[in-house]
Symmetry: C2
Subunit: 372 residues, 2 copies
């Protein structure tokens, strides 16, 4: 295949989505719950996770679905990972404001209920609850044969934090150190493009991956009984849930023995659709320089080569190996990185916050983003 | 049309849904959050709304979608009510445990985003937030052209209550008085059957309703500029949100001036899919007798006649005019009914709790349910 592919040609119009969401939001008007009462909205820069007041705490809600990664799960009838994907997309957003996730509800829409599929989903959600350390507080399965042609899975996570410990981005400053947490693979964004590339590649999801799938310490969830990892396994590998170690880091920062506090964690970014450009949401004017990136997983290189996707587009669409970025006070960066490294293989300092313009610069890949 | 219709023949297999959900739940295992910590699960009889611990409070989550009523909204491109439907299905469930809803998030899945539709949805959700008095704390719009053929809308509501004030059904006793709150129409259940009947009726949703749509004090949300109410308007009439007056009733019960307390409200039932049989979820052994029902809205009679649906099936599928039932201590029933009547037209005492078997008996319609 020689035609270059990008996200828009794969059928996703980010601008159209943006204006649809803007239309919805502009219709909403002011909240009906006054400041100082339970449920009053709290505005934070960055916009990850909706925060509301609740006494001495803030509660945070995040809602998201797995998206078109589900179409690969449907095709292969493999559901062991998608509950983890659904959980991850939500709880990782909550972590960005410093919230500890505590509960989750799932919403499944199907053309027709299938007990076997639901049992597999239940097992996947149970594993996701274990990884995220949350209670599954409910769920809904809707039979909608006139609306969905195959299974859709979304969910909502609830978290909380102390009122004065929200991670808002307002403490960010030039010189802050960026710590990258490795991703487990593609995670749950960019799948319209992934599927399009594979559909045109001549490969099937049942084929062994035509590359060495080893990448740092990441593991691939196996569901095929053969020695070599298949493309299906690579592209269904569940999204990393970062509660362990990020919740633990926040708890450490809260403890009196710690040399640093929650206020030394200046920003947390969940790298989702939009790739590194997500960093721009954390602050209105500061910039971001990545000069020591995490290793790029082999499937990203294979997708770029196979689909003829240019580097800028790859970094604009995918996490490229780094699923979460913490911006911390430089004085504590080494200590925090060392602590995180004990909990998770492959954590490293990847760059710093700069004050020469509202942009993300990735030095190695020579890509730059100035808008989200 | 002479063939009798029922819910199963309309394409919804409640048993299959039940076993799918049971498969999912049986895969879940125990919660990872220990009792006494934020997020630990709280088990209540009845099963409305997932409750978790949170200090001196309990938090409650409810998640649900609008279901196939959306297909009528899509057909008519009328979205003014569906945000209210989505809110109602969730917050009304929260009320059943005595929770005050405080926040909501929406999830929209579309084949392609449409800013005009989203603006209408936003306006509908804003009105829903006003009616339910909650903050819209976030939302997600997913473009899933391979999964959904038309718009799906679901949401999650968050509420809270004081730890010792959960309405669990454990105070229910024979002689408790049932107070019925009128519905606004079909609400958001039974639409597979509604749509099937209309599709076979020879009528279009654009036709004027072939019956007098007046019913007690209920209003119909108009969106067509013609004098007579259309079938589309009748069947898209939004679900009643019962926060006003139920949250206010709970607050009144909490106040020192009140003669009754929250503990005198023994059970609250949201009448959804399953109709009156929902009452059976509130208690393991007590029975329910309805001898003075609320008026049946004319559209229910028209559906029964037009579709040849028998009475038992109608009461098993629809709310038949009564969208929420409160079971209260007999000593305070008149006072509570009078207070509610000042807030809402058409509230009345409809029956009582009995101890002659785990069943619901509707004396006027001569129907009886002994399982949910």
């Amino acid at each position: 295949m020689t035609d270059k592919m990008d996200y828009a040609s794969a059928g996703v119009d980010i601008d159209l989505e943006g204006s649809a969401v803007a239309s919805l939001i502009s219709s909403l008007g002011k909240s009906v719950r006054p400041a100082g009462t339970p449920g009053a909205p709290v505005d934070l820069p960055g916009g990850f996770g909706g925060l509301i007041e609740f006494g001495d705490n803030l509660l945070a809600l995040a809602t998201d679905g797995v998206g078109s990664k589900l179409q690969i799960a449907s095709l292969l009838n493999q559901w062991s990972g998608v509950g983890i994907d659904c959980m991850a997309m939500n709880v990782n957003d909550l972590l960005c404001v410093g919230a500890e996730p505590i509960a989750f509800v799932d919403y499944v829409a199907v053309p027709k209920p299938d007990p076997e599929v639901h049992a597999a989903l239940g097992a996947s959600l149970a594993e996701a609850c274990r990884l995220a350390r949350v209670t599954l507080a409910g769920g809904e399965t809707a039979s909608l044969p006139g609306i969905v042609t195959e299974l859709d899975l979304s969910g909502t996570a609830l978290g909380y934090l102390k009122k004065n410990e929200a991670i808002t981005g307002e403490n960010l400053q030039a010189g802050d150190v960026l710590i990258g947490l490795p991703s487990s693979g593609i995670h749950s964004n960019g799948y319209s493009l992934v599927r399009r590339i594979i559909d045109h590649s001549g490969f099937s999801y049942h084929d062994s991956a035509p590359f060495d799938t080893t990448s740092g310490g990441r593991e691939i969830l196996r569901f095929v009984e053969q020695k070599q990892v298949t493309l299906g396994e690579v592209f269904l590998n569940p999204t990393k849930i970062y509660c362990d170690p990020v919740v633990d880091l926040i708890k450490l920062a809260q403890s009196p023995e710690s040399n640093f506090t929650v206020n030394d964690i200046h920003g947390i970014c969940h790298v989702t659709g939009g790739g590194l450009s997500n960093l721009l949401r954390l602050h209105k004017s500061l910039g971001w320089e990545i000069d020591n990136p995490l290793p790029v997983h082999p499937e990203f290189k294979w997708l770029a080569n196979t689909g003829g996707v240019d580097t800028w587009e790859m970094y604009r669409t995918f996490n490229m190996g780094c699923g979460m970025i913490l911006a911390v006070d430089a004085r504590h960066a080494v200590a925090i990185t060392e602590w995180l490294t004990e909990k998770m293989t492959g954590v490293q300092i990847i760059g710093r916050v700069t004050d020469n313009g509202h942009k993300v610069v990735h030095l190695g890949a020579e890509v730059e983003f100035s808008h989200y």
